[in-house]
Symmetry: C2
Subunit: 258 residues, 2 copies
């Protein structure tokens, strides 16, 4: 299959760099075709701004959503944005690999999402009516594709457990899994997380690669996180609140997982 | 008091720009001294990389934590980073204002956090022993100061409610409140959130400013979110898991609020 590998770490000779190199080789050895967006190496522009559209300005006021829509619909997007969208459309599977910095993705990767996820491409897609609130959360441009995170963290696994001080890792990643990947249609596989990266020796690196390789071998058939589709009946529209009979005792992120 | 106002929106003539202008004037009219870091206007560099240290490289391998520590301890930080740290030390209160993009802060603001929050300044502070896991989560360089978010969101308030499809707003903001603000010591005030920004007319804007003004008037005495201090007994060290007798039935983000 076609794999788009988006990677965000400034140092090639880092643990992240080694895991990226391992993953690409492992995928290619298995016969997949891999395109890599190495954001630091590409000197990716992180900040969404008026420079992202090539349109001649008739209005001096920049509107992130409207200007994004106009540029997307009229072939006036900055070329780096259009190229990443092409890669997303080409891919069967998207992998995002990054170190967890301040409990989210690095700024350069966040800026990739903000700029590539144009209005009309990743949001503002589909009919808005009494029955549908756009094609999102399980539907949309990228539906039918799969996505997975590879994340490194300096802290211990227990710090990210159900009662760990940082909060549970699956809650920390929910805004990415659900809000960035499931939103435009991806099926989201459970993440591959490496903890305590400061304590990585050769033996542990080898074990980590073995485990990562096994996950990469099952990209095509592993079960995705069972997020609830927005327009399939679980949510009242337009309030977009879970109907009372769905997970009646649950609140918060976990209520959106069937 | 001294207020540092960090603001991230690309368009001055936006709702965010208007709310920023209102807030600064309101604070100054009340006698406070305000410094503004308008990240887009400053053309803030978002990506953390080897260029953030002025040290002569003896090793070609860039280590985000170690190189940050070396630059911080030896006065070799990039000048823009050192200036923002000075503003943070000067401030009694920090306000971060931004539009919620893809369920987090804009990349340019995330990059402000990543670069300004140096090792030795915002993390890697204090003793690590059997009794303490560094000065963080309620202790640290910025202890005794207050912080508040002003956040705009296009979606409806119900979409961000306890069972709303996006997840509860206080959970979406937890990694910022707890992981970015409480971590280096800030007392974190409840956020001021404006929903459904596409439906803002003059009357609603006026009401919004009134409500925001009231929040700004109580910056000095409002009760912060009662996050649990790391080193005050609630957590087992070094596992950093809540002790069994603390909120025994709770898991997830809410367990860390007393």
């Amino acid at each position: 299959m076609n794999v788009l590998f988006v990677y965000a770490h400034p140092e090639p000779k880092s643990l992240n760099g080694s895991l990226k190199d391992f993953s690409i080789k492992h995928l290619e050895d298995a016969g997949h075709v891999v395109q890599v967006s190495d954001l630091y190496a590409m000197n990716w522009k992180p900040s969404l701004d008026a420079g992202d559209t090539l349109a001649t300005k008739t209005d001096t006021r920049f509107d992130p959503a409207k200007d994004s829509q106009h540029a997307f619909e009229n072939g006036l997007q900055s070329e780096d944005i259009a190229r990443e969208q092409e890669k997303l459309l080409w891919a069967d599977t998207l992998i995002l690999q990054f170190p967890l910095w301040w409990f989210s993705m690095p700024a350069i990767l966040k800026g990739w999402v903000e700029r590539v996820y144009a209005y009309g491409f990743a949001y503002g897609v589909g009919e808005h009516s009494d029955a549908r609130w756009g094609d999102r959360y399980g539907e949309g441009t990228l539906a039918g594709k799969r996505a997975m995170l590879i994340v490194t963290a300096g802290g211990w696994e227990s710090h990210y457990g159900p009662r760990g001080i940082n909060g549970p890792m699956d809650h920390i990643l929910f805004p990415i899994h659900h809000g960035i990947l499931y939103y435009p249609g991806f099926d989201v596989l459970p993440p591959f997380v490496i903890y305590r990266t400061g304590r990585m020796d050769e033996a542990r690196f080898s074990q980590t690669c073995d485990a990562l390789g096994q996950r990469l071998d099952t990209l095509g058939n592993a079960s995705p996180i069972p997020f609830r589709q927005q327009n399939a009946g679980a949510y009242a529209i337009p309030e977009l609140v879970l109907r009372p009979e769905i997970a009646p005792d649950q609140c918060g992120f976990t209520a959106h997982v069937a």
